[in-house]
């Protein structure tokens, strides 16, 4: 005999609210934690998750998944797979581990906040499973990355990155804290599971797994695909919350979806863009970053928000135009400031790669080619010091990415410039109008000095490049350098060109 079907008892297990008598409802569900806003309390009774799972089903399924993922890992342990991986691909993996392990863990806290302050018991239960899932993601990533610390200390950053003030990490913390931790749980559910997980990470995991397989990194592909199967489930907490919010406060819903999509897109341009278009060996690339974003992120996102009655974000054209520039600018910045990252950014502008870039991005040559030519010239004449930075760039007060990276040098519509804003006697700088606008709306929560502002305020001592690197937690053995030791630039040496 087996258990009773879930449907026969599931509703009892989520019928858990009662009228509080000894403490105030507002004390148990404080407004800024619970985010009731204009939504009447009764509305929460309608919260219904579409993907239902019971505790016994959960532990059975997850146990099996864990056994599967770890047995693949064990089988590969003794193989030479890792040693044969391309350095550029390894950089994709290192950047991924460092940028995500602790964020998966922060998602645990976001889920726990929903499990405590969510206004529907069905939601609180789902969030408990979500907290378990995110614990799994943090742990599986750490376990896989730890295997590699002995081979390469850059993998140490899977554990270390978020404990530091590395500039990219500050940008990631600013974005994710704003998405998962600072807001009330209603906003969190619309921002994290709905906009970010359904819109970005779930699809990114599918793409990343495909690239990993293509690059021969079976272990990584196995890990990522296994994680993705959980994402599809707990990301569904967003939908029912958004439905209720749309009914009672559509303006609030539109605003939080719009701003989260923008900040996520900015971050994705640095987390995913350079990996897809520069680090991954050209013969292994499936799609360009732009193609991927258009097909999987932009179109799906618009379909998805239309289903809920939301409008296209006001900045949409600027975002689409950014697919031609943002990640190219950020790649240039990351490569130039390579000692400040914990992976080896591959230059990725050999003649062959350049041809691919020009094919995928017809304006690439005009926008970025000439800057790389200067770099190539410096590399080939041995003037390495000119390919390295002397100080820090100005950073955007909202996304914390370099000002100028939402644009490109020869772009008439979005040229490199700062979008300043004077407020309370201080001038803030932004990478774009949209960042400035989001900051203005949310300035009370977002006021957080950028690294460059801290440097100028004397908080980073000594204020030299060495001092900055130490402040960011970069040790000499971890600081990034070109993945191929500048080999890709050699084809441009005149002698070589003449000989070929």
């Amino acid at each position: 005999m087996a258990r009773m079907p879930r449907e026969q008892w599931y509703d009892i297990a989520r019928d858990l609210d009662w009228e509080l008598s000894y403490v105030d409802h507002e004390a148990v569900f404080p407004e800024w934690h619970s985010g009731q806003g204009k939504i009447p309390r009764e509305a929460w009774a309608r919260w219904d998750e579409s993907y239902k799972i019971s505790y016994p089903e959960y532990v059975a399924t997850q146990r099996e998944k864990e056994a599967g993922a770890y047995s693949v890992k064990a089988a590969l342990q003794k193989s030479k797979v890792f040693d044969q991986l391309d350095e550029g691909w390894k950089s994709v993996a290192k950047e991924h581990f460092g940028a995500t392990a602790a964020i998966e863990d922060m998602a645990v806290y976001a889920e726990l906040r929903m499990a405590r302050f969510g206004l529907s018991p069905a939601w609180r239960n789902m969030a408990m499973f979500g907290a378990l899932d995110e614990t799994r993601h943090a742990q599986i990533g750490l376990q896989f990355a730890h295997e590699l610390v002995g081979k390469d200390p850059q993998y140490d950053w899977a554990n270390k990155a978020y404990q530091t003030n590395e500039w990219g990490i500050i940008a990631a913390r600013a974005t994710f804290d704003g998405m998962m931790m600072t807001p009330n749980v209603v906003d969190t559910a619309v921002q994290l599971p709905f906009t970010f997980e359904t819109g970005f990470s779930n699809v990114q995991f599918v793409a990343l797994a495909a690239d990993a397989l293509e690059s021969g990194d079976i272990n990584f592909a196995n890990m990522i695909s296994s994680i993705q199967t959980d994402e599809a489930r707990h990301a569904q907490q967003g939908g029912p919350t958004l439905e209720i919010l749309m009914e009672h406060d559509p303006r609030r819903a539109q605003w939080i979806v719009d701003k989260t999509f923008w900040t996520s897109a900015r971050l994705f341009a640095i987390l995913t863009g350079p990996g897809m278009d520069y680090y991954t060996p050209v013969e292994m690339r499936k799609q360009s970053y732009k193609e991927f974003m258009q097909e999987w992120i932009a179109e799906q996102f618009l379909d998805q928000i239309r289903d809920y009655g939301l409008k296209r974000p006001w900045y949409w054209d600027e975002f689409i135009a950014g697919l031609d520039t943002w990640h190219h600018s950020l790649h240039l910045g990351v490569w130039y400031w390579r000692p400040t990252v914990w992976w080896k950014p591959q230059g990725g502008v050999s003649p062959e790669e350049r041809e691919w870039l020009n094919e995928k991005y017809p304006n690439w040559e005009k926008q970025f080619g000439w800057m790389w030519d200067v770099i190539i010239e410096n590399i080939n004449s041995g003037r390495m010091e000119q390919t390295l930075p002397e100080t820090l760039p100005w950073l955007c007060s909202l996304c914390h990415l370099p000002v100028g990276t939402a644009a490109s040098p020869n772009n008439d519509k979005y040229p490199v410039r700062s979008y300043p804003l004077k407020h309370n006697g201080h001038t803030y700088h932004f990478c774009s109008r949209t960042c400035r606008q989001i900051w203005w709306e949310d300035k009370d929560t977002l006021h957080d000095p950028t690294v460059i502002e801290r440097l100028l305020a004397g908080e980073i001592q000594p204020p030299t490049v060495e001092g900055i690197l130490a402040w960011m937690g970069l040790t000499p053995d971890v600081m990034g350098d070109d993945a191929y030791g500048y080999r890709w630039a050699k084809a441009y040496v005149p002698a070589a060109a003449a000989a070929s």
Partner: protein, 342 residues
């Protein structure tokens, strides 16, 4: 800048650099748990990368960083069971298989139909309504997990929260079975909320759990819940109710409650370990916890003695005073194991 570039001292790491001081190879548990919560990072301006005066940053500052329960190094604490996610889902899947076996063996319908009406009345008053207090505990445990000052503590509490969801689920499952067996006449599956909200015997417990939901200082939440509330309450609702079921030949309830009690035993192990770690770190923490225990023990006593009446009312049931004495003894044992008394 070029001078920092070319020389790369070869450094072979054996593990995370953050675990460097360990002087031994870390366990898998440590590798996947250590140093994860970045809101506790050293040298932070605020917990979150946002204005230090946002409500969330102020909340972390007030209820976590400025808690009277303080320690130099919370990341030195270890779960005695060394639970990882993988281990957790494995052991709980095994336990759920055990539960399934129990449910099979007692062919629920026949078993439940053989129960005496007085016992059905007891189950509908003391057992099936427990999905409400278990959910309250689940909420408070989720709170403690998000506020804990180290990922080692968070993970313990997170799994404890999931255990409580397990408990709610099993109680709900049995509620439906008992409802079927009694065709609803005993009110099982119908009147649980009313019992929880209005039955006199439940009110002190409900009051205590509602207070617990607003015990926002993480240290107080931990001390109150895991050293006072749960040892007292679960002594009655799990241990003593199980014994009573055993004595009254309701083997099914006895076995299921005993199975759930094993989850609490694990929580008890890390909770006493955490309290001892806190005291080792800072002697004054003993007084801090004692102060909270003094605040919560009378509430727990009131809850327990009120519920004890329901156990005593069962024909052949225990003496009310004995139930209370057992619950107090269970709590005292936990507080002593925590190194706070004795």
């Amino acid at each position: 800048m070029t001078d920092v570039m070319p020389e790369r001292p070869a450094r072979r790491l054996k593990t995370w650099s953050s675990l460097g001081k360990l002087r031994r190879l870390p366990s898998e548990y440590e590798i996947v748990t250590h140093g994860m919560n970045y809101t506790t990072r050293t040298g932070r301006f605020a917990a979150l990368e946002s204005n230090p005066t946002t409500p969330t940053n102020m909340w972390f500052l007030t209820y976590r960083d400025h808690s009277p329960l303080r320690a130099e190094d919370w990341s030195g604490f270890r779960d005695p069971d060394e639970l990882t996610y993988r281990k957790y889902v494995t052991i709980q899947d095994e336990q759920e298989t055990v539960v399934e076996g129990i449910l099979d063996e007692y062919g629920p319908l026949a078993h439940d139909q053989s129960l005496e009406p007085e016992w059905i009345e007891f189950l509908s008053t003391v057992f099936t309504p427990t999905r409400f207090p278990a959910h309250a505990l689940q909420m408070s445990t989720a709170y403690m997990a998000q506020m804990a000052p180290s990922s080692y503590i968070t993970n313990c509490a997170l799994f404890a929260g999931a255990d409580l969801l397990r408990r709610v689920s099993l109680v709900a499952y049995r509620t439906r079975q008992l409802n079927d067996a009694t065709s609803g006449v005993a009110g099982i599956g119908v009147r649980e909320r009313e019992v929880w909200q209005a039955h006199e015997a439940w009110q002190p417990a409900r009051q205590m759990l509602e207070y617990l939901l607003v015990a926002y200082d993480w240290g107080e939440c931990f001390t109150a819940m895991n050293l006072v509330v749960r040892p007292s309450l679960d002594s009655v609702l799990l241990t003593q109710a199980a014994e009573l079921a055993h004595a009254g030949h309701d083997e099914l309830t006895w076995l299921l409650l005993s199975n759930l009690a094993a989850d609490w035993a694990r929580v008890e192990r890390w909770s006493t370990g955490l309290a001892r770690h806190a005291i080792e770190q800072r002697g004054e923490n003993r007084e801090v916890m004692l102060h909270w225990i003094d605040r919560w023990a009378p509430r727990a006593d009131a809850a327990v003695s009120s519920l004890a009446g329901l156990l005593a009312a069962v024909p052949g049931g225990p003496d009310q005073g004995e139930v209370v004495a057992n619950a107090v003894a269970a709590r005292d044992r936990v507080i002593a194991a925590a190194g706070i008394t004795g």
